[in-house]
Amino acid sequence: MAKKRSFRLFIQCCYTALTNGYIYGFKEGTIYKGAAKNICLPGLNCYSCPGALGSCPIGSLQAVLGSPSFKIACYVFGFLLLFGSLFGRFVCGWLCPFGLIQDLVYKIPLFKKYKRKNLPGHKYLKYLKYVFLLIFVILLPSIITDITGTGKPWYCEYICPSGTISGGIPLIIANDGLRSAIGFRFAWKVLLLLVILLCNLFFYRPFCKYLCPLGATYSCFNKFSLYRYTVDDSKCNKCGKCQKVCKMDIKVWEKTNDMECIRCGDCKRECPQGAISCVSIRKQVKGNELDNRR
């Protein structure tokens, strides 16, 4: 069990290292400028991280929507649809660098007695991420523009803790010029990051649950993404063990592929009946053929 959990951690670490492998950037306080930056990565990976080899889809979306030349962001929406329909929130559970940071912080064995799955008011707070997506990522960059018709990346500028921890802090440590330019906004972003990480000590992935616009986007695809779970009703006895182990607190037997499910696989492994499995297209096609013959 622990071995399988560490397999997910291993994949998260490998993916983060692979997509942030520009070591020279960390050393010199600069960023990668190669052609791979044309491509959007699936996770929340700040493109101003010194090691980043690709683009952040949320930052890119704001850049295109805020550009005077475009009103619709076909390219970035295309990537979001593609990743969402293939993986759903599997990206959050396995491929997101900021998800990895939150998983590691939650593992710190401090205040064990006070660790909880959700913040109080989770039932309502979980919808906050959709508000952030709509207002800070889509509406504000498109509507509020300067004299040249360019909108600001509001979410990146005032909220995104991934930009602070993976972009801002490493760049400011290594780049003297940037260090001399820090001011109120940087202090605000560091404060917000600290609050999120402090919350994370007590609650599992608070940023993913309540603030992440990328998680909000992928959650819309969770019910029908290519990689999803299914519960075999003939095996499931509704013992509730899946919900007990699920850190996103989902009643898997009732709401399989819930919008909050990050496909970590804990429920699948812990189910004593082996009732939870991945949906296989081959099995579905075979089953359909059998149904048709009958």
């Binding site: 683009s55 390219y75 295309g78 990146c156 602070t164 760049l171 001011g183 579905q284 089953g287 359909n288």
Partner: protein, 49 residues
């Protein structure tokens, strides 16, 4: 069984739309905007500027 199959079909349609949007975005030269933003240090993203 049929419900699950229809989900695969929806998924397939969305993947096709996604590929079309990416190609359309490349044709509209949105890639240059994405590249220009991501290949320069984004001051707003890191909290400066």
């Amino acid at each position: 069984m049929k419900k699950e199959m229809s989900k695969f079909i929806i998924c397939g349609i969305i993947i096709c739309v996604a590929v079309f949007l990416i190609i359309e975005g490349i044709a509209r030269d949105e890639v240059t905007t994405v590249f220009n933003k991501s290949a320069n240090i984004c001051m707003e993203c890191i909290g400066i500027g």
